[in-house]
């Protein structure tokens, strides 16, 4: 290989680029690492100053996240006999007993139902709408596309009060359906626009070939368009999920019990004398996982975008 190859970077260039990438990764990962570590600290360690980097790890934060506890007298605790489980033991050391499970599990479940439900609905409706806009003669097509985009021109929270009132009179407040519809309404414009771009890129000859080869339009859509739009669908789904999963303001305003998601719940985890930071950090860590796993699962499809367009158009 020549010393002045245009396609192959020199060792020095590689070294500099590598260093920059690693530095950037460290900077962005630091807060996440801090949250992750805090989840395994004891409450005093979590607020000690200067901050502790070396500490004895404990699962107290996770136990506190999943339980509600009550303080008891020494005598009462002694009368209970030895702790039967490892998590009871952790709680007893703080002179408390477990009163029951906390609401975190339920809130997390709500987040999963609402987050994935609205993502599925946005992508499903978005794909069909994008296909229609891409392939058929739709009257006023450009105006309709602009209208769909215009629904995102103000911050969604600007319409919070009307939505709050509407939801109250429709009985949608604090319901899964209400939150799924709301997040879908916010995400759908992004989904339609992103997916239309991807579907426009798929040459129409593929479907025409399938039509001639004996497939109906719906079969051609399913067999030919969907697999090739996988990249677009995967990235759209990730964007939609991230929004719905992290959404805080509407969740705070419109949910309080049955349909409350994790974001408004996590900051309300109060321990002895203020916020229970290890429990909050444990909650945040668990909260990050689904989006992380989802993104990793879809990564294969995102990478496939690179080979997209290898066929002459």
């Amino acid at each position: 290989m020549s010393a002045y190859s245009i396609t192959e970077p020199s060792r020095r260039q590689k070294w500099i680029a590598g260093t920059l990438v690693i530095l950037y990764a460290l900077i962005t990962m630091a807060p996440l690492a801090w949250i992750f570590l805090t989840g395994f600290k004891s409450p005093p360690d979590s607020i000690s100053y200067p901050p502790k980097v070396v500490f004895t790890p404990t699962l107290e934060g996770y136990v506190n996240l999943f339980t509600t506890r009550s303080r008891q007298t020494r005598e009462y605790l002694d009368s209970l006999g030895p702790a039967r489980t490892w998590y009871e033991e952790i709680v007893r050391k703080r002179e408390m007993v477990i009163a029951g499970p906390s609401k975190f599990g339920e809130r997390f479940k709500n987040s999963v139902i609402i987050g994935f439900g609205s993502t599925f609905l946005s992508v499903f409706l978005g794909t069909l709408a994008a296909y229609g806009f891409s392939r058929f003669k739709v009257p006023l097509k450009d105006d309709l596309m602009f209208f769909i985009l215009s629904t995102r021109m103000m911050p969604p929270i600007a319409v919070a009060i009307p939505i709050f009132l509407m939801y109250r009179s429709l009985g949608l407040s604090d319901t899964h359906l209400g939150m799924i519809l709301l997040y879908t309404a916010v995400n759908i414009s992004l989904a339609v626009w992103l997916l239309k771009g991807f579907i426009d890129e798929i040459p129409i000859e593929y479907e025409e070939a399938a039509l001639i080869d004996g497939y109906t339009r719906l079969q051609a859509f399913y067999k030919v368009v969907l697999p090739q739009a996988a990249t677009g669908i995967a990235s759209t789904a990730i964007f939609c999920l991230i929004f719905a999963w992290n959404e805080y303001a509407f969740a705070l305003l419109l949910t309080s019990g049955t349909a409350q998601t994790a974001p408004p719940f996590i900051p309300t985890i109060i321990g002895e004398g203020g916020l229970d930071w290890p429990a909050v950090a444990a909650g945040a860590t668990l909260f990050l996982l689904p989006v992380l796993v989802f993104t990793i699962l879809l990564r294969k499809h995102l990478l496939r975008g690179i080979t997209f367009g290898a066929v002459r158009k």
Binding site: P203, E205, Y206, E208, A209, A210, L211, I212, D213, G214, Y215, T216, Q219, V224, P227, Q228, A230, T307, F308, A310, V311, R312, K313
Partner: protein, 343 residues
């Protein structure tokens, strides 16, 4: 296999009339080649037969059925697109099997494997069957898209310049192969090409399109030897037919109204004992390998003819030439036939 009939079919796109009242019969088992420059409406004609376009006027019949309102799947046609359209998410094998797996056909897996294997063998792509379609060269992709039509036995094969992106050797090979398959199966074929050799060697009939209208239809020999217009005459022949003012050869006995003559290379006799010759000066001599072209200057007009590669003629030299049985056209390019020889 079946007969295909177009009856006064018209297709417009806004102001453009892509296909203009075309009536055409593709007889059962025939190989019909459509000729015409880019934009003449060749692709649109195929798409109309396939059902990818709806005719604005006229009817289309396949095997006697009026299919004008049928969806593509029901028409039982196979098509090779001008721009090849392999499914990039499938392997070569799955691309070839795709038409056979249509819910309309319900073939067994064993049968599908057998047919795919046969077609792959025929097109020399057996060793690529498990590759992704995107990993093929342009020529291989084109062969797979031809294969995707050949796995079926449809009423008619529609092929839109299927060999245009192949190199010369492969093109020659596949030309023979396609013709053999067509003859063996007795397949009905409607085929678009720019290539004169393909048109002359494969076609049983040639249709010439001009701005959407069918201007002549006949056997390749008829279209070559007996064209109705300058336009048709220039579609076939390498080098192209020479079109010159009719007074260039004063000795010619012109039919009334003739103002242009068409001279193919074989209509020009150079040197020798031609009667009533005209003096011409030799211009460039181009050695093209398979043929040698000689440019001739006659009274300010430039003619191209063929000569033998070892010719001893030199540029600048003067030679006597004569026109032998040329074609006559009027001022608008319409053919003028001598009365009596009118077909």
């Amino acid at each position: 296999m079946a007969e295909v009939r177009l009856e006064a079919v018209t297709r417009r796109f806004g102001k453009v009339t892509a296909v203009d009242g075309v009536s055409l019969t593709v007889p059962d088992g025939s190989f019909v080649v459509l000729l015409g420059p880019t934009g003449a409406g060749k692709t649109t004609t195929l798409r109309l037969v396939a059902g990818l376009e709806r005719a604005d006027a006229g009817r289309i019949r396949i095997a006697g059925h009026d299919v004008s309102d049928w969806p593509p799947a029901r028409r039982d046609v196979a098509m090779v697109f001008q721009q090849y359209s392999l499914y990039p998410h499938l392997s070569v094998r799955d691309n070839l099997a795709f038409p056979l797996r249509s819910p309309l056909r319900r073939l067994g897996a064993g049968e599908i494997d057998r047919v795919v294997g046969e077609v792959a063998e025929m097109l020399h792509i057996s060793h690529k069957l498990d590759n992704r379609a995107t990993q093929l060269s342009g020529g291989e992709m084109q062969r797979v898209s031809i294969g995707r039509a050949l796995v079926r036995r449809p009423a008619v094969y529609l092929m839109d310049e299927p060999l245009s992106s192949l190199d010369a050797k492969l093109r020659a090979e596949l030309r023979i192969e396609l013709k053999r398959i067509q003859a063996e199966l007795g397949a009905t074929m409607l085929y678009v090409t720019h290539d004169q050799i393909e048109a002359m060697t494969m076609a049983t009939h040639v249709g010439v399109l001009r701005e959407g209208a069918l201007v002549q239809f006949g056997s390749p020999r008829e279209v070559y030897e007996d064209p109705d217009s300058v336009y048709v005459a220039t579609r076939l022949g390498q080098p192209r037919i020479n079109v010159a003012p009719s007074h260039l050869f004063p000795a010619l006995d012109l039919p009334p109204g003739a103002s242009l003559i068409g001279l193919r290379p074989e209509h020009i006799e150079v040197g020798g004992n031609a009667p009533n010759p005209v003096k011409a000066r030799v211009g460039r001599i181009e050695h093209m390998g398979d043929q040698t072209r000689m440019h001739l200057l006659v009274n300010g007009a430039s003619l191209v003819t063929l000569t033998d590669p070892h010719t001893r003629m030199q540029p600048g030299e003067e030679v006597p030439i004569a026109a032998v049985a040329p074609l006559f056209f009027d001022g608008d390019g319409r053919r003028i036939r001598r009365s009596g020889s009118m077909p």
